[in-house]
Every structure is written in C-alpha cells, then in structure tokens.
C-alpha cells in the first residue's frame, strides 16, 4: 500500500476520485471478491425509487438494454451468468461471472470466474439521494490496467476506455428508467440498428 491511504479514508471525497496511486487497493477492500488493479467509479442520480432500479439491474439479462457493448447475459443457474460482449470485427468474447454480493434494493456485486479471458469485478450500489431526489446509483469497476495483457484486450474489446463506457452506460440506464427509452438522434429504424452494432 502506498503512502497517504489513511488520508483517503479521512476525508469525504470518494476513493474513485483520489489522486493516490493506491486507490484501487483501497476500493478493493470494500468489495466482496475484487479482481483487477485499475479502478473506475461513477455516480448518477436517477429520479426513481431505489428498489425499482435495483430490480431492473438485478435481472441481469436486461443489461444489454443499456450496456451497448454487451450482447447477452444468460443465467447459468445459481448465481452464475455467462456474459457475451461485442469485440472488434463482428466477433464476441465470453466469460462467466458470479454474483458475489446481493442485498435487495442496496447493492449487487459480481466477479469473473478463474480462467476468464477478461478478469474483472464490479459492484453497483443504490442509495437514497438526499432531499427525496430519487436514487444515487454508483457503479464501481475493477479491471486490469491497460499495461497488462488482459487490460489491452479489454481496451480493444470495449472499443473504448472503460471509464467512458461506464459513464455512457449509466446515462443510458438513467434514460431508460426515467423516460422509458434510450435517446437517439437516428431518424430511421435502419439508422438506429446501425448505431447498435
């Protein structure tokens, strides 16, 4: 652990915004089964009740509705799910991840199983926003840094920096939950289909 970690704990700014190089390790302490050495986290306010948002997300098969790079999430029984994610040149990559943390209306955590090509773990928390303004949804993702081989695979795979991907996915989740649809500038269905590819 690097120096200054105690300071991360002593102030109120979230660890994901820390300038300390040891921030991923600190965040990992909070997770049930952390994997990866790079950390990203984003919070979005959604004008809907906590439980409704949790329920939508917990039905993991629905994630492709707002995670545009995820093609399918299939339940394999128990707490295991097979993720199929879009890769360049029309290909896909798969891995199996287990739900390792699940408190209804509060938090869902997951982590990839041993041997996955793309090791990653994450958690999404649902908290009441202050002042009765809906729910704060915080997604935290740990993944191997782009320096590692796996990290490079991820970056290619996601076709974007994971931080950008998480930010955009959370915006789409908000749109879907608040408005019932995902905003698009496409004005024909063919254009929309092209955007989704």
């Amino acid at each position: 652990m690097g120096t200054g970690l105690t300071d991360i704990h002593r102030q109120d700014a979230p660890v994901t915004t820390s300038k300390d190089s040891g921030r991923a390790a600190v965040a990992a302490e909070e997770m049930s089964a952390p994997k990866g050495d790079s950390l990203i986290g984003k919070t979005v306010t959604i004008n809907r009740p906590r439980r409704e948002l949790y329920d939508y997300w917990r039905t993991l098969e629905q994630l492709p509705q707002f995670m545009e790079n995820v093609e399918r999430v299939e339940p394999m029984g128990g707490n295991r799910y097979r993720w199929t994610v879009k890769a360049p040149a029309g290909r896909t990559v798969e891995w199996v991840a287990a739900v390792t943390e699940d408190r209804p209306g509060e938090v869902i955590g997951w982590t990839s199983e041993e041997g996955a090509d793309v090791a990653n773990s994450g958690r999404v928390e649902f908290r009441d926003a202050p002042g009765g303004r809906g729910t704060w949804v915080t997604a935290t993702l740990l993944y191997d840094s782009p320096a590692g081989i796996v990290g490079k695979v991820i970056a290619k795979l996601f076709q974007r920096e994971p931080a950008i991907q998480v930010r955009r996915d959370l915006r789409r989740f908000k749109q879907l939950m608040e408005t019932g649809e995902v905003a698009t500038g496409a004005w024909t269905r063919a254009q929309r289909a092209e955007e989704m590819n």
Binding site: T45, N47, R133, G134, I164, R167, R168, D169, R171, R172, K174, Q175, E178, T179, G180, E181, V182, A183, T184, G185, A186, W187, T188, R189, A190, Q191, R192
Partner: protein
C-alpha cells in the same frame, strides 16, 4: 423527402433524404406546414458552431400535422402542433422543475460527452443544431421525427393560422423569458441590444410586464422602426455612441435592466470587436462579445442583465470587475420553451401578442438555400423567413 441540409460554411442545400420513422415509443412524425429560419441558424451557416457534420438537416422552429404516433405518444393523427426547439424528457429532476432546456435525458448518451467536457454537465437536446445537442434531424424538411412527443408539442386549435402561432417554437418564448429574467419593476427603463426577432419580442414582452420605457439598439433602420411601433425609443449604434446615449437618456443612471439579444455575431467596428474577430478567425477564441460588455458597463448599479443571446465557448475581456463592483445580476440560458407555451398561446388567442408583423418573406422549402442567403445578407429588410413545404412557386409573394 426533401430537406435543407448543411454542408459547410455558407453551403446549405435542399436534398432528398430518407423519410423519418418512429424509432422510440414516445416519438411522433409531423408533416411540416411552416418552418422558419432563425438567427441561431445563421451561427451554423457562418460556421461558428462545432460538431456539425455534412448532410445534417437544419431547422428548429416548425409546426405541422401529426401523421404517425408511437405507442407512448399522447398525440393523435391529424392534430396540428407547434414543436418546441428544445428536446426534453419531462421526467428528470430538471424537467420536473420546468428547467426544460437543462433536461438530463434529451441528448443521446455518447453525444453528452461533448457538453459534459465543455460545460461541466450535458444540456437538453435541440432540433437541427449540431451533434453536441444530440444530432437530431431538424424541421426545415417535409417531415420530422419528434422525440418525447407527449411532453413537447402544443396542440393548436382549429382555425388559427400557422403564422400566428409558429413562433411559439422558439423566438416568442425566448423574448418573453428574456424579459422575465430582467425582473422588471414598475418605473423601470429596459435597454435591449439587437432588434432581431428575439429582441423585438423582448421589447413587446417588457412593455407587457410593466416597463416604463424600453430603449432598443440596432443599426438597421427598418428593425429599429419595428421596435418603435411597440413604443420603444431607439439608438442606432452606427450613428450614436451607445453607452453615452444610454446614460444621457437615463439621467446618468443607466438602464435598470439590460437585455443582450445579439449574441456571438455582434456587428460593428468597435476596437474590442475587431480583436474578437481576429481571434475567431485564428481559432483562439470562439465568441465575439461586444454587446454583452456594453450591457454590463451601461447597466445601473445593482441592476439586472438578461442574456438570451447565444454564446458557445470562452470569452475574453468579460468585464468581471464591473460586474462584481456594481453588484449586477445576470440571468441567461436556452429557453425553457415548454414552460411558457400554454400562457403564450392564450395571449395570442386573446390578441395580446401579435407575431405576424415579423414575417417579411414566405417561400417554398425548395428555395431554402436562397432564404438563408437573403436572411444573412439583407438583415435590415429580411426580418424573418418562413418556409412552407407545401407551397408551390406560383404562390410566392
């Protein structure tokens, strides 16, 4: 369908493009009957707005007939509607506070990155106004896809002609919001920079809100004449020194409220303006700002500055010291159109507000490129161009 498309600076063309379709449940498709060219469109025409792509369909001031509805739309086929230029969801925190132009959900997630980086937070979507505002196809076309059609469009009663209500889409509520933001008190003198459509509606609105005097500033005699018809006093900035004239006309005090309805294309040969032009042409700055500087300097101490005018980026030589020392209040923003629609439609129906005086030219959509050229080159007599997709050439006045 036919539509006016953007291809670069001073290059717009009427092209054949795919017809719009219902893409999302809350969409409606409108067959356009009237669609105007706006001062804001000139910023696109002059190449000041970033994130435009060749082939983008322009136009954000339009109305027409509902021809198709998605499962979540509350409109019915055959209804006539005016559509706000802002695309707002109606259900986020900002929409619930009627801050429609600050809607969280109007812009597709990927496009939100641009405004997030430039402004700190993403803004509402706009029709036909670059990819930063959503990349939505605009309404200078035969048909348009209208997202969130259950929230935005206002239904127009039968028998009310287009020309009376078309400007509910943007410039009438914009002029009204500008006057409201000036927080006019009895006895107030209000100065308005720019006698384009926004400035002229701000003049009209300021009187309706109880201003004692309104002083309108421009250099086009015909536009100043229109302001005079509403009872405004006028300053032609080419013939008089604006700051000196304003102080003399207010007994040395300055106007109680100042409205900047000019924006990033301020005209005139002022030293600071020429400096701004050099910087715009060398990409070291994006905005020219003479009118807002003048408004801040002329405004009386403790007064209000309202800025409907559009500025896109960073501004140099903004007189922050004067602003602070004098204790001014500045209110600005894209218009929360949806908030004002019911009240302003009523005012039109009751004859309290007339908007038809503004229209100087009506032409078919096919002549849209010519309309842009005229509006750009002959601003004095061309106060507003309305394109009518259904009109044939023999009807041109």
């Amino acid at each position: 369908m036919r539509a006016l498309t953007w291809h670069g600076k001073h290059d717009v063309r009427v092209d054949t493009v795919p017809d719009p379709e219902i893409v999302n449940p809350r969409d409606a498709i409108i067959r356009i009957t009237s669609t105007a060219i706006c001062g804001s469109d000139l910023h696109l025409y002059d190449g000041y707005i970033p994130s435009m792509k060749a082939g983008d369909i322009l136009g954000h001031e339009f109305m027409g007939e509902v021809v198709e509805t998605g499962s979540g739309s509350t409109l019915r086929k055959g209804q006539r509607v005016v559509v706000p230029f802002t695309i707002s969801c109606g259900s986020c925190f900002h929409c619930s506070k009627h801050q429609y132009s600050a809607c969280d959900n109007g812009v597709p997630a990927d496009n939100q990155d641009i405004a997030q980086a430039a402004y700190g937070q993403p803004m509402a979507g706009l029709f036909g106004y670059s990819h930063m505002t959503g990349g939505y196809a605009g309404g200078q076309a035969e048909y348009v896809r209208v997202p969130f059609s259950d929230v935005g469009p206002i239904v127009i009663p039968d028998g009310v002609e287009d020309d009376k209500v078309l400007f509910l889409s943007d410039i009438l509520p914009t002029g009204w919001q500008a006057a409201e933001y000036a927080q006019i008190e009895p006895g107030d003198t209000v100065a308005v920079w720019g006698c384009g459509p926004v400035g002229l509606f701000a003049v009209q609105s300021a009187f309706l809100m109880g201003a004692e005097r309104v002083i309108a500033i421009d250099h086009f005699p015909h536009r100043l004449e229109l302001a005079k018809r509403f009872g405004a006093e006028t300053i032609n900035f080419e013939e008089a020194k604006t700051y000196e004239a304003l102080l003399e006309m207010t007994g040395g005090i300055g106007p109680d409220a100042c409205i900047d309805a000019v924006g990033l294309e301020a005209h005139g040969f002022f030293a600071d303006n020429i400096w701004d032009q050099i910087k715009v042409s060398t990409f070291t700055g994006t905005d020219r700002t003479h009118s807002i500087r003048q408004a801040i300097l002329a405004c009386r101490k403790g007064g209000r500055v309202s800025m409907p005018a559009v500025y896109g980026g960073f501004v140099d030589k903004f007189p922050l010291g004067a602003f602070m020392e004098k204790g001014l209040t500045l209110k600005t923003g894209q218009t929360h159109v949806q908030h004002y629609l019911p009240g302003l439609l009523n005012a039109i129906m009751e004859g309290k507000i007339d908007t038809t005086f503004l229209i100087s030219h009506r032409m078919p959509l096919e002549q849209a490129a010519e309309g842009y050229r005229m509006f750009h080159d002959k601003q004095d007599e061309v106060t507003k161009v309305v394109l009518k997709p259904g009109m044939d050439l023999s009807q041109v006045a």
